[in-house]
């Protein structure tokens, strides 16, 4: 490897060159910051959904929706050949969510019925990961996660392998994830909700493959692909559909299998002056006939001595699932039916702002995100807009320290 292009040997230039060489060891990988034996991050997060507008609500009044308060703790460390990470999430969830939609008596437009502000639960999640191997070598990664709610339990495992090309301009990775979820819906099979399932389970198997390449002194790109298969009870146990011919509701019922393919093309480009542009196009499709596109743009910049600021913009669009309708005139022959707004055709726009500022060994952070889903933002014309599309804002404060 010829060293003729090495920069002139002032101390600062030598340091920068060494840092660049260190980055090169990990091929396309970037270094998140100075190496630390252990680091800890804690964040308080608030998520708040906007109300359903009076014009879209079956009650004729504006109705408030879901809110989540979360606390997240992450510990990470690294040794000579090993990196580990552990995360704990505590969440408190409360509010109302879309239940089913009925046709307006005047014009047949769908109107949203909410579940009532009766949902109140706690979620606890724990995840750990361990990566073994140096940059330039094969690196193995193990992951495990567990999440517990009153009515839902989920356990997952993952195994991954990453390696670099001989010239370390490419990094390739393969991973497989498996998850087993157990549902015990509240009041399942009760006198009040006889059609609600008492207990069910589902399994998810996913395979990830990705390649990341150094394109130039300023640019890195990654192509990622995920194939996934979900099997079991994939319906929402709480949601219902309105069947007009019966003037009654029926349970949400989806196929028991879902095969999906997700693709993403990501690029990061250093603009100079401590600024970098991150771009992403993502596409996903599945055998429920759902198709989606996402475009994301994120500008990250240094602010002051060691502070950072980032601004993100995201556009998303999806088509509807084959068995979705805001409500049904008769029960479909297939027996598959859902009025879940998340399976409806819609688009969404989100903006994000993040700030980070170091204070000695500590790191303070904060950020906000605003998100609005709307039929008008969709890639293609939407004939009937789902009344329960989500608008939300989220905000966080974080505190971190390195040792």
């Amino acid at each position: 490897m010829a060293a003729t292009k090495r920069p002139a040997s002032s101390a600062a230039q030598a340091l920068r060159a060494l840092r660049g060489a260190a980055a090169g060891l990990g091929a396309a990988c970037t270094l998140p910051g100075p190496a630390a034996a252990v680091e800890a991050d804690f964040a308080w997060l608030r998520y708040d959904e906007g109300p359903v507008a009076a014009a879209d609500a079956a009650s004729g009044e504006s109705e408030s929706r879901f809110a989540i308060d979360s606390q997240r703790l992450r510990l990470a460390g690294e040794g000579a050949r090993t990196r580990w990470q552990a995360g704990l999430t505590l969440e408190s969830l409360s509010g109302a969510s879309p239940w089913y939609a009925i046709p307006d008596a005047q014009d047949g437009r769908p109107l949203q019925v909410l579940s009532g502000a009766s949902i109140r639960e706690q979620r606890t999640a724990l995840d750990v990961s361990l990566e073994h191997g140096r940059a330039g070598e094969r690196r193995w990664q193990w992951q495990a996660g567990y999440s517990q709610e009153d009515d839902y339990r989920s356990a997952g495992l993952g195994l991954g392998l990453a390696w670099d090309s001989a010239d370390r301009l490419w990094t390739h990775a393969l991973a497989v994830h498996a998850r087993d979820d157990q549902l015990r819906p509240t009041e399942g099979g009760s006198e009040r909700y006889p059609e609600r399932v008492r207990a069910a389970d589902k399994r998810v198997l996913a395979v990830d493959a990705s390649s990341e390449a150094v394109l130039s002194r300023r640019a890195v790109a990654q192509l990622a692909l995920t194939l996934s298969r979900e099997q079991g009870f994939l319906s929402d146990p709480y949601k219902l559909v309105w069947v007009a011919s019966e003037a009654n509701t029926a349970p949400d019922r989806r196929p028991r299998e879902r095969d999906a393919l997700a693709l993403a093309l990501r690029a990061r480009y250093h603009l100079g002056g401590g600024q970098a542009l991150h771009l992403e196009w993502a596409h996903s499709r599945d055998d429920w006939k759902l198709r989606s596109h996402t475009l994301s743009l994120r500008l990250q910049a240094l602010a002051g001595e060691r502070g950072r600021v980032a601004f993100g913009l995201r556009w998303y669009s999806q088509s509807q699932a084959a068995f979705y309708a805001p409500f049904f005139t008769t029960r479909p022959d297939s027996g598959e039916q859902s009025s879940d707004p998340r399976l409806a055709p819609f688009g969404a726009l989100a903006v994000q702002l993040d700030l980070q500022r170091p204070l000695g060994d500590w790191r303070l952070g904060g950020g906000v995100e605003a998100y609005a889903a709307d039929a008008d933002y969709a890639l293609r014309e939407v004939a009937v807009e789902a009344p329960g599309l989500t608008r939300y804002w989220s905000a966080y404060l974080s505190l971190g320290r390195r040792w």
Partner: protein, 76 residues
């Protein structure tokens, strides 16, 4: 309206693809200083990036390539 969005999506995807296929110059390790800069780190704080992915996945039907959003119901 939807035609212009289609065009915009195609143009953005083509530009991104163009950037990728035009690349792959041989960059020496000591020339990768900018690639190692903190502003080039793939996402913001890991805690927050994971949280936002989890929310998106519980509000949208899409699956995300190359990253699990963690476990949990997301039923609301």
């Amino acid at each position: 309206m939807s035609k212009s969005r289609n065009r915009l999506l195609r143009a953005a995807t083509a530009a991104l693809l163009g950037l990728v296929v035009s690349g792959c110059a041989h960059v020496q390790p000591w020339e990768r200083e900018r690639l190692a800069a903190p502003e080039m780190a793939p996402e913001g704080p890991a805690l927050i990036a994971d949280y936002r992915r989890h929310i998106a996945q519980s509000k949208e039907a899409a699956r995300i390539a190359g990253g699990s959003s963690g476990s949990g119901c997301g039923c609301n």
